[in-house]
Symmetry: C2
Subunit: 334 residues, 2 copies
């Protein structure tokens, strides 16, 4: 059973999950191209994964069989486990609890070698719907306070499986990164009224220099203070805190801008390793939901995070976002 | 001139330093072993670096010549630059200032292929003294509020030069990571009285399970909630906030425990890439100095930081610190 431990000075939680040290990887030890012969995410090998918790497949076809277009299963080597209670403990200055949560894998398509940038928009939309449905379902578990949807693309970004997948982890506390963002939204609301991200959208539209794509309902742009070269955010231009309230139409529009953005990143930067993280409102909030505005942060991993960043929390970035926007714009739709 | 930009939501500062994109690296493109033929940190090539700001060398020998045992120079490709004022600007929700600061390199020894783990203790102590002297000198510049001493060892940890070196960067604001730690110290003091790190030391001594080395004046231990496998902290067992108050005797004792710790890490983990960061009290504090206790955090880089960590600020670690302490203890002094 994983354990959650809290750093007594800064309150940062760490997941100790010794079992994850034993999980297999299909790269780099396996040759690219041979992983497909044994890949548990490929159609026909559904029995190699834990049972599915969600799938899109034609009516009448059976669960855990072939025919799916998107499939969600529990992670076989979970960072957090679904059973039991938190059972918080304290010992002097130290606090810990059992590593209760959920860790699931969204298999993005049946095609082993596809990735989000190569999939058609309606298939990306199916992945976006799967994330929404899993958030809605996991929200029913009152132990959970947040659901982090994220993607690791490429070994350098922490991926251990080649077959295209996105992940989600439900956590029993609101993560500190979210807490920081919520604090920023609250501070701006008190000082200026309104939503800080709505203000940012307005300012980006006025200046244009960092915008990559503006569509009917979404904006893709390079943030003013990016941690990483070519860091790109996608935000709904309408104010909405919770991703899971999105309609199918919203998610198709989101998939369209996400696909175009990822294709520009793949084209401009030679399919770089990247992470993306979805930031959405906490779930099962007691009382009034806090002010928030959901968004996706895409972070190509072209440089190493080094001592200065670890020590200070400052980031050094050698590519100004205005330059990055220009480069990515020149790779749109080609 | 680099620019500091503030993320308007979470207040995180980012250093935009386009010039650093052009800096040379002597690995991996250069073959290991050939870098020494052109290395600007080697004796005899002092003119290839900016002028030295500190060195230990026998009396009577000239600055910027040979004969030094430790030498500190400005970084030729600085993240922050020493000239000018901050000139803070704001534009709607966005804030920025000029990238004013200092970025220096401590060349740890004349020996190109030495590293801190292979150097004798008195040479490590010379590096520790150089860091102290530079902090003391830079504190005289009232624009600076913090000095981050850090080391990147190995390309995977962000090093771009092979010749053993430690770095320091003086920043015009107190970094958020330090602010978080200062907040934790203040919270504990208000709630319980006393220093949280002194309490941790007491608790570690009582339980022993995470201790690697206990010497007369220092403790090396695996923290209760480590972000990374084999993360190791070194702390003075006496309460002191500011590293730069250390006497030569203190720093020799620090060098001894640092050397033993690094040799155990090199031995147990096959000379892994690692970062270390020194956390010490802010400088030029207006008013009463805040409660703090200086310490060094050593972070081997054996795993990738991935989407979950970026999204949440939680860390997943597959090696419990009690296990890591056992492994490292078995590699002490061999």
């Amino acid at each position: 059973m994983p354990e959650l431990r809290r750093d007594p000075i800064v309150g940062r939680w760490v997941v100790l999950a010794p079992e994850r040290g034993e999980r297999p990887s299909d790269f780099p030890p396996v040759q690219v191209g041979t992983a497909r012969n044994t890949c548990p995410f490929c159609p026909g090998r559904e029995s190699m994964t834990p049972p599915e918790v969600y799938a899109e497949r034609p009516d009448g076809m059976r669960d855990d069989g072939e025919g799916w277009s998107v499939r969600v299963v529990s992670n076989k080597y979970p960072a957090l486990q679904i059973e039991g209670d938190l059972d918080p403990k304290s010992d002097g200055v130290y606090r810990s609890m059992r590593g209760v949560g959920a860790h699931e894998v969204i298999i993005e398509s049946p095609d082993h070698s596809a990735n989000l940038a190569s999939l058609p928009d309606d298939q990306i939309a199916a992945v976006a719907r799967a994330a929404r449905e899993r958030i809605l379902d996991l929200t029913g578990d009152r132990r959970f306070r947040y659901i982090q949807v994220f993607k690791n693309f490429g070994a350098e970004a922490g991926a251990t499986m080649e077959h295209g997948h996105t992940q989600l982890i439900a956590t029993p506390t609101v993560p500190r990164r979210l807490d920081e963002e919520l604090g920023g939204f609250a501070l701006h609301e008190r000082a200026n009224g309104g939503c800080i991200l709505c203000s940012m959208i307005e300012q980006e539209r006025a200046s244009q220099g960092r915008i990559l794509i503006e569509s009917d309902r979404f904006l893709a742009f390079e943030p003013f203070a990016p941690r990483f070269p070519y860091e790109t955010w996608i935000v709904p231009t309408y104010h909405e805190g919770a991703y899971e309230t999105s309609s199918d139409d919203d998610l198709l529009a989101f998939a369209q801008i996400l696909g175009r953005t990822l294709r520009a990143i793949h084209g401009a930067l030679d399919s770089p390793p990247y992470n993306f993280v979805l930031h959405t409102a906490p779930i099962n909030e007691p009382g009034r939901p806090p002010l928030f505005h959901w968004h996706l942060e895409i972070m190509p991993k072209l440089t190493k995070v080094a001592g200065f960043e670890w020590g200070t929390g400052f980031y050094i970035n050698s590519v100004p976002p205005e330059d990055a926007a220009g480069v990515l714009r020149s790779h749109l739709d080609i």
